[in-house]
Structures are given as C-alpha cells and as structure tokens.
Symmetry: C2
Subunit: 334 residues, 2 copies
C-alpha cells in the first residue's frame, strides 16, 4: 500500500496529472462534468490525500505561524493560545506549537527551531522579554504577547496593567484606608510587575518603598516564614488603622492569605484585599475577592490579527504597543 500520488489518480481516471491537480484545487472550469464526477468518485474511493508538503513547495506559499510559549501551564497563557488558535483558524493558518517551560535557553532553541522550519510568522509569549534573542527577530513577521520588553522593538499586545491597577486601587482608596500595600514577587525588571506597581503608585502617591511587600517566588520554606513575620509586624504596627493589600497576582494573593490565616487575621474585618488576575475560586472565598480580570483570549486574537496584517500587507511601521483593557470585578473583600 505505497502512498498514492496524483499520478496514480490520473492514470486511474485516464486523465493527466494537471486535470487531477485542477480538480484538487477546485478549478472545475477546465474539465467536463463527467471527468469531474469520475475524479470525485475515485478520490473518495481511494481516500487519496494530496501530499501537502509537495503542494506547499510547488505553490511556494507558507501559511504556518510558529508560537513560542513561555509556560503553557500558566492558565493565563492557555487563554492566549486559545485566542491565537481561533484567529489562525479564521485566517487559515496552521500553528506550530512550542513551549519553553519558563527556560530562557529552551525559548531560544524553540525560536531558532521555528525560524529554521521557515514559518511565515512568529508569535512569542516571552520568558524574558529583554533577552537578546528578540533582537534577532524581525518586526516584520513577529509579534510579542503579554510581557513587553523595556525597549520596544517588536509589536506587542499586552494587558493594560498600569491603568487597571490604578483604577482598582483608587476604589480601595475611596474606602478610607489609612495604609495600602502592594504585595508582589520581586520585580526583576519584569514589565508586568513594575507596571502594576506603577499603577499602585499613581493611585496612592506614595513616594517611598515602604508600601512594597515582596513575596519570595520559588523560595525556600524559611523565606516564606520571613514573609509571614513581615506581615505580622506590619499588622501589629497598624493595629489601630485601617489597612489594605493589593496583590500583584493570584499566587501572591494565595501566599498572603496563607500568612494571614496563620497569624489569625481575616478579611475584611482585619484587613482589606484585592488582586490582579481572576480565578474561579476567588468567587467562592468568604467573602468573595475583588479582582482584575484580564482578557487574555483577546490578547491572542489581536496578536494574530496584527501578525496577519503585517505578513500580508508588508506594513512597515514603528513597533507598536497594543494595550487590551481589563475588567474590574468588585466584590466584598475590601
């Protein structure tokens, strides 16, 4: 059962390969109804499938876009991927998937590999958007999502971090808190983190770093204990004032809640809290938690849309930053 080719079909139907090819491509103008039906019959009987590699080579058209994901395990990211795929499907592109599992080196390998595969365009959700690898990418055929580099060299679409945090924190301010704190993983110059903090600062006007609380990221147990200690002293220091926390993301929130729980404090009596990111479970906490929902699906969709425009219209512009708005979800946690 050697693979069938267009030639086999041609001989079976007593026509030339050209006719078969025309049939395959829907150019029915060039053949009699009879041969058309005949071909249809034979092809479905034999379950013939034209070799797409050969077809691509001959047409010299390339409708595949490569996706480099920093960490597909991140729920935010899978939403983005879902948006990308949806749009690729609309535009009839196929998507070649790669995942770096948060490793910078892996990401470099993946991108290189995609380039070698000769994809038409690349969408990258970067591990580290300031990695030098991105300088080897051309803005003509790539777009970045989520995290943005400090110097914008590639079109990127991201969440409007700053404004949304600013808005939510302003809501907190309206509730007459004496002290507000921003809880975060170490900045490490990562744009999502610093931008959210910037929003916090704009809302609060704090001029010192005294309202910044760092949570270890992949720390050792001892570091988390120190964090809990830290929270403890903050709570004691503020025991007569109204105090609130804004968390930079859900994982950070979880850590804060855990610490508070250990210390015997509960919200909203002892403290107020709100967070970036939305997850199912926030709704079922007692009381439910106020948060910022990002439209990651749109990020993916828009990214692919922009990429398609670039690819097909060769628009050569300055790298652009497209900010996707978020949604504020107000509940009863502050």
């Amino acid at each position: 059962m050697g693979k069938l080719t267009i030639k086999d079909i041609a001989t079976m139907a007593n026509v030339s390969t050209a006719t078969v090819s025309n049939y395959l491509n829907g150019n029915y103008d060039h053949m009699s109804l009879e041969t058309r039906k005949n071909l249809s019959q034979i092809i479905s009987d034999t379950k013939f499938r034209p070799n797409s590699t050969a077809r691509n080579l001959a047409k010299n058209e390339n409708k595949t876009i490569g996706v480099s994901i920093a960490d597909i395990t991140n729920p935010f990211t899978s939403q983005v991927l879902s948006g990308i795929y949806e749009q690729c499907d609309n535009y009839r592109y196929r998507v070649l998937f790669t995942n770096a599992g948060n490793s910078e080196q892996k990401e470099i390998d993946n991108i290189t590999r995609l380039q070698n595969e000769g994809v038409a365009g690349i969408i990258v959700d970067p591990v580290n958007p300031d990695s030098p690898i991105y300088e080897s990418l051309s803005n003509q055929n790539t777009v970045m999502v989520d995290r943005q580099s400090n110097k914008l060299i590639i079109d990127t679409v991201a969440t409007d971090n700053m404004t949304s945090v600013q808005n939510l924190v302003e809501q907190m301010k309206n509730k007459d808190y004496d002290n507000l704190y921003f809880v975060t993983w170490p900045f490490q110059n990562i744009s999502t983190r610093t931008q959210r903090y910037e929003g916090f600062i704009r809302a609060t006007n704090y001029s010192t770093l005294n309202h910044l609380i760092a949570v270890p990221h992949h720390g050792k147990e001892i570091e988390y204990q120190q964090f809990t200690q830290n929270i403890s002293s903050i709570m004691q220091r503020n025991n007569t004032s109204k105090i609130g926390f804004f968390c930079m993301n859900a994982r950070v929130l979880l850590r804060l809640l855990q610490a508070m729980q250990q210390l015997g404090y509960s919200y909203p009596q002892d403290y107020g809290v709100a967070t970036y990111e939305e997850f199912d479970w926030m709704q079922v906490m007692t009381p439910a938690i106020s948060c910022i929902h990002q439209d990651s699906y749109s990020i993916g969709k828009v990214a692919m849309h922009i990429l398609k425009q670039k690819l097909e219209h060769k628009l050569l512009r300055q790298p652009t930053l497209k900010l996707i708005p978020t949604q504020q979800i107000l509940r009863a946690s502050f």
Copy 2:
C-alpha cells in the same frame, strides 16, 4: 532580497549544490576542510536557511504530529499539552496544534485538517470520545488522552480514575462517616465521571443512587438554587449524623462550597469533603482540602512515547488502555 537557495550558496562558494547539501546535513567526509570552512563562512554571512518544505519533500520524511485538544483553557489539558510537547521535543517531532473549544464539530474539522496536512501521527484529547469521527482514525498512528471511549478502538492513556477515587473514599470511610455522597456533573456517559463514581461505589458499597448528587454544568441560576435546596435538605435530613462529600472535580467542589456557605454550614465541623483534582487554592482554604492529584504531564509524555513507538516500529497490537497513577493528598477537610 529574493530568498537564497542552495544553488546561490553553491555558486558563491564555487562548489555544486550537492556539496552544499552535504554540508547542511553534516556529511563532512565528502569535502575538504577548506570548502567546509568556506561554506560555514558564507552561510553564516548570508544567514542562509535551507527551505524545510523542500527538504521534507526530498527526504520524504515527516516528523510532525498533530494534536487535537478539546479545550486548551482547561488547566488539566495544558499540562497534558506540556507533556506532549516535551516528549515531541525529545524525539525531534514538531507539533501542529489545534483546539476545539469543546465543540464536537470543530474537533471533527480539526482532525480532518490534520489528516489533510499529512501529519505522521495524531494525539487527540477528545471532546466526546464516543464520537464516530474516531472510527475514521487508525490506531496505527493515533493515541487518545484523558477521556476514553466506551469501546476501546484507539490506544489511550488516561488517569486511573476508579482506583484513585476508591482509595480516597476508603480513607473517608475510615473516619466513620454515617453517610457519604458523590457530587458530580451529570454523567452523560462520560468515562471520567462514571469511573470516578464507580470508584466511589466500590469503596462504599452503596447499592442505590441515593448517594449521588448532580450539579448543573452550564446551568441557569435557577438550577443552582435548586442544587442548593437539594443540599439543604440533605443536611437537614442528616443533622444528627456524620456526613461527607466527595466531589468529582474542582468546579463541582466550588459549587458545593458555595452552596454550603450560603446555607451557613462549614467543614470540617458540619460536613467532610474531598475532591478529585488539585489546585493551588485548595491548600489555602481553611482548612486545606484533601484531594487527588493527577499527573497530567505524564499523560502527555506517555501518549507521545506510545505514538512514537507505533510510528517507528509499526507495532500492530490491540488497542491498549494505559492508566497513569494519581497521588493522594491528605489534608484536613474530612
């Protein structure tokens, strides 16, 4: 700046295309050190990248596997994808990604498309594993993950649902509950659901359906109210006995907790609870929730491993079901 070809490189280096090709493929035995260096220089200078489509056609080798995902937005699934990718990367396959967004029709389209692309093999995470589309797939080059069909026609790798539920529920039994309940979305003949229930039954030996509680899936508000009512009467009926709930997954657990909260009950005083699936937030609940952690990453990895074996060794066997063990996480919720 027309794309460079192997021919251009050849003329630039004053050698034939064959030599360039040899160079590209690492067959350095057939050329002088000089031309080798020369080629190396030219290629890196010109940033020449051989056209992979042409290469694939010429070698007639196909190292791409297609992945059809039911819903990439599901965190369980993204773990699976991560495992698949990892293994593909190890085995030097590329992965063509598709996502059905839980639509059966979309899934059919996706699979058909993958087939037309001529992928070497397919891994499918099915929307509905009993859909007729799977009969058009050959067990020679496809494997299913997660949900399994009722009649096994394709090798599939899934979680060991039954045994793990049985084991955990037995732990609950040891705590002298008078009544245990299984909370689930409607079965709809979906294997993951019925198998988990089967494990529950094996542990409890209940012979009626009285211990089965259905939660609406994508229901209207009114249906959730009915569910809450239902829970309310169960709690009242059992107000003198020790009662426990096992939830079929995290979303169901969330619903149960929500209902309980509305009704003013809390665990572990008023009821005991445990669940299938593990998420970060379960650890931070008060008290933390006992659960079953599935190794979705391994599912993906193993699936690709099996697929590779089939593809490269043409093993023709009976379709096989590979069950991946889970991990029991005992905390303080029952």
